[in-house]
């Protein structure tokens, strides 16, 4: 099952945010790709594409200016090696979604909370290498062990003070080449933490946002405000609530499985029973039935 959650708010309106959740049950032939069971990463791609499509749908009915956040990079990740053709199809659909967002002038951003790709460090390594660049210079990592997060958020003397953002850079990677022209991906670092406890995050934006300083400033301000809302552990409040809206709890998962089993039995389907060992493990322990607190 793919469950996605969306939440939107109008800052300074005094109104509670609105939420929407969507569930899609994938079954039968839809679970197969090339006669084999669909992979976990392909399912993740389906979910990510659905999330981004939901943003485009919401953008078409909400007032502007509008900032749209996704958790993680903007580009779609996963399954590239497993099924290149299917991945290419996902990317094509994603570009179509991006076109809808660009048409609406949506300020789209991907929030990468703990970036592990050291893009800035790599850039520094290349600038340190002697010119002209040789193949071995490209493979060398003289700054190995230094991370982008350290560079911008060194405890005690962060390059970015609390609330500050870096310059905007173009994103260079093998997969980002799928996103060209107005969709080409850019990023900046933003310290959403505090002077004593910096927390640099990477924010990805498409070119139509990167080249518009007004949009960048609005996004910068909104992200700082969103993170401040979460107090001592800064993270965009709305992204947290979107996760909460989409989350399927263990109890809900059990209910769904029970409904599916019931429906199958109604149609004379066969259900595999739990092993007796597992069944015994799930017996409730002795507890008092609480009727009052």
């Amino acid at each position: 099952m793919i469950n996605i959650g969306a939440i939107w708010m109008h800052p300074q309106s005094g109104q509670a945010p609105s939420t929407e959740a969507e569930s899609q049950l994938i079954y039968g032939d839809d679970l197969l790709e090339e006669h084999t069971l669909i992979s976990e990463s392909a399912l993740s791609l389906k979910r990510d594409l659905r999330e981004r499509t939901k943003l485009a749908e919401l953008a078409e009915r909400l007032q502007k200016p509008l900032i749209a956040l996704t958790d993680g990079p903007i580009e779609l990740w996963g399954a590239k090696g497993e099924d290149a053709r299917a991945y290419a199809e996902f990317v094509r659909e994603h570009l179509h979604v991006l076109a809808r967002l660009q048409e609406q002038e949506v300020i789209l951003a991907g929030y990468v909370e703990k970036p592990f790709a050291n893009l800035m460090i790599r850039l520094l390594e290349l600038t340190m290498a002697p010119q002209p660049l040789r193949r071995e210079d490209l493979l060398a990592s003289p700054l190995r062990g230094v991370s982008d997060r350290w560079l911008f958020g060194e405890p005690g003397q962060p390059l970015l003070r609390a609330g500050e953002r870096s310059a905007v850079f173009g994103l260079q990677s093998a997969s980002s080449k799928n996103y060209r022209g107005v969709f080409s991906l850019h990023f900046f670092y933003l310290n959403v933490g505090f002077d004593q406890h910096p927390w640099p995050v990477r924010v990805e934006v498409p070119r139509w946002v990167a080249e518009d300083s007004r949009k960048l400033d609005l996004l910068h301000r909104a992200l700082v405000e969103q993170c401040r809302m979460m107090g001592s552990r800064p993270y965009p409040y709305l992204l947290h609530r979107a996760h909460e809206t989409a989350r399927v709890s263990a109890e809900e998962k059990r209910q769904i499985e029970a409904w599916l089993a019931l429906e199958l039995r109604r149609h004379d389907g066969e259900i595999d029973d739990l092993s007796h060992k597992q069944s015994a493990k799930q017996l409730a322990g002795r507890s008092r039935n609480r009727s009052e607190r």
Partner: protein
Amino acid sequence: MSQPIPIGRLLRAGTTAFVAGCRVNQGALPSFGALLRIPLEESYQVYGLIYDIHIDDDGLVRQLVTAESVAEEIVRDNRERRIVPVEMSVLTVGYEQNGRLYHLLPPRPPLSLDMVYLCTPEEIVRFTERLGYVRLLLQASQIPIGEVIAAHFLQVQAAHPDPQWQERAIHEIITLLRDDYPRLMAVLSALSEAIR
């Protein structure tokens, strides 16, 4: 006749007490000491008195309180959208069957998700006309009985047309607690704050 006011639904129940839940934003938030009823069937309903109102926190709320300020939108989101109910612990004080009120424990407790209603002034007057339920109140241990009775008195006074009701109720309490002087004094002390 006042309209019935739904305030929430039943979470869990026993014969002597039950717990109901409601969302924080519901207009008619019940108050401590309020008389409630839960209709189970057409001719059967259970009555109870709120003795505790409880609001649980969660991880997000604990984190939000560390922020320098909390925007109105976030307060409303947490009160209106997130599933954190207000819990009301309720002491069972009687039931009604086939039109007759009993100040006894009910034959069957209410069931999960049964709707809970706040009693209207007319229903309060009807239920408190006789004072048999005071015995059930005083039997309850581990609840702030003096405070519950004082809060209940304030609400009954506002609804009751009988000016002698308060005096009758105090006599009933004195009679029932005549062999338990410390408890009697605790209840009368709380009542002295409610009665002017």
